[in-house]
Amino acid sequence: MSRVVRAGALSVRWEPRAAAVGVGLLAVGLAAAVFVVGTGDFPISAPEVVRALVGQGDQATTFIVTELRLPRAAVGLLAGLALGISGAIFQSMSRNPLGSPDLIGFTTGASTGALLQILVFGGGTLAIAAGSVAGAVGTAAAVYALSYRGGGVSGHRLVLIGVGAAAMLEAANSYLITRAELREAYEAAFWLTGSLNNRGWEHAAPLGWALAVLVPLALAYGRRLTMGELGDDAAQALGVPVQRSRAVLVAVGVGLTAVSATAVGPVPFVALVAPQLARRLTRRTGPHLMSAGLMGAALLSVGDLISLKLPVAVPVGVVTGALGGLYLVWLLAATGRKGTT
């Protein structure tokens, strides 16, 4: 049930359950991040990590924590946030739990852009980042243009065309790797699994700045996204500029997908799973971007911690892929049983 706080003509609605879930997810994400920072060749206990973070630690520990390992944890949290929110945006617009950016080609497009840089142009870190952003944006523009018909874009068409685009780009990615030299192919394959290894402030800072712009924009359009779920006609009749809102939301969603892919590679399934899990926990109908984002941050952070604690070195993308695959099977089996789509 929602509560209302009123002051004069102003009123704000909030839901205690959603707020509690949000706080809980934030706590889980931050706790996992603390343990991620503590893990490595030189283990640091959680209290010591916290002490270093608040400026009470000794010099060596503080250096390891803030300069070497904190960026990794920050990238994990931020990229997870971006993935969760972008997943919620696209799933809501397509009215389909499978309509997430990792399944409708945007993430695959980011990979193609990155692979082209790694394998064909031999670009450095910055060029790879630019390549993946360009790949995601280019794919999204093509998918959006192809689904444009009669003055607008329907969510359903967006998903179908996106899935087609993803398949073609997947094929292109495989072809690029077969043509590569062994060392480059290794680098490319590593990028493709999605990893948080060797992330520094040069990765975390741009990601943080991008999210400082994109996340508030997404939240500001959240209400219109909710209204859009009533169908274009009803939403429009209620005063929502449907097509303009959709264009902004697509742009923001693609931006979030692109910057997260740039920072961690195409980590699979977080965008797909986070909004659905958040929705089940908050028991809300409609999209809730903030809880989806916090769920994404918690998932990626915990996934990273698991990948660090496993006896063999495993990139975080493999962990989220394995967990997400299980979820996907469960989702399809559950909807199959209900006899609905």
Binding site: V12, L230, G286
Partner: protein, 267 residues
């Protein structure tokens, strides 16, 4: 002048022109019903009145100003629409769905005023779904669901309500229930414009009937003044007799029994 007026509309989807030079005035305070055969442009006209479809030429005027030039939320406080196939979000409750009708009145820091609360409660009361407030809409019957959607449009508190085939997919009892409800909303002072398939329902409930064929208005006026056997034949191509409805006194269309003629012709 009437509040909702269309002038010289050319309406088209992509390449297909549905209507040209179409002019309509919705009389204030009327229950206007638009009828006509499939594809005559009646739903298209309603979409244009609801500013869901941009006319290729001409314009729809609301309170004397072109409707497309006015801020969307301000229009949405004066004209409401029940779409033909509204989409009910998964798992949404009746109260939550009806509450979304308040969107035109809400802002970032005015998310749920006492006014919103009152309007939603009144709307649910008016269509008799107050007891269903916490039920999930997907689990309701077709008739109940249609009443919930009507409540959403009512919560919008617009003086003008547009209804696109509000009785499709309902059985006869629920069709009458929904139309009786519409009639009551009209008597309370709202202007209603509905597209209906059933000519007899149209005659029974409309105070102003618009008969369309091939993108043109063939006749308009009070049903008892304009509905004749010739008109029905001209609009729908259906030979019929018109009698007075024994229940309401409005025109009742009884299709001619052509089976006899067919059998006779074959002999």
């Amino acid at each position: 002048m009437n509040r909702l007026v269309a002038r010289d509309l050319t309406l088209a989807y992509e390449q297909r022109v549905v209507a040209e030079g179409l002019g309509v005035e919705v009389p204030d305070g009327s229950f206007t019903v638009i009828v006509g055969p499939n594809g005559c442009g009646k739903s298209t006209l309603l979409r244009a009145l609801a500013r869901l479809l941009k006319p290729r030429e001409g314009a729809v005027f609301l309170d004397g100003e072109p409707i497309l030039g006015q801020p969307a939320k301000q229009v949405a406080r004066r004209v409401g629409l029940l779409p033909q196939q509204p989409v009910t979000p998964d798992g949404i409750t009746v109260a939550d769905l009806v509450a979304r009708g308040r969107y035109p009145y809400q802002r970032l820091l005015r998310q749920w005023s006492r006014e919103d609360e009152r309007a939603v409660a009144a709307a649910m009361e008016a269509v008799g779904v107050t007891e269903l407030a916490d039920r999930v809409v997907d689990e309701l019957s077709g008739g109940q669901r249609q009443r919930v959607w009507l409540a959403l449009v009512l919560a919008q508190e617009t003086p003008i309500m547009l209804l696109d085939e509000p009785t499709t997919f309902l059985d006869i009892a629920h069709q009458i229930e929904v139309l009786d409800l519409c009639s009551r909303l009209h008597e309370e002072g709202r202007t209603l414009v509905a597209v209906l398939h059933d000519l007899n329902h149209a005659c029974r409930y409309a105070t102003h009937l618009i008969a369309m064929r091939g993108g043109e208005i063939v006749a308009q006026g009070r049903p008892s003044d304009i509905v004749t056997a010739e008109l029905v034949e001209r609009v729908f191509g259906l030979p019929c007799r018109i009698i007075d409805c024994p229940e309401t006194g409005t025109p009742l269309v009884v299709p001619a029994d052509r089976r006899k003629a067919l059998t006779a012709g074959m002999l």
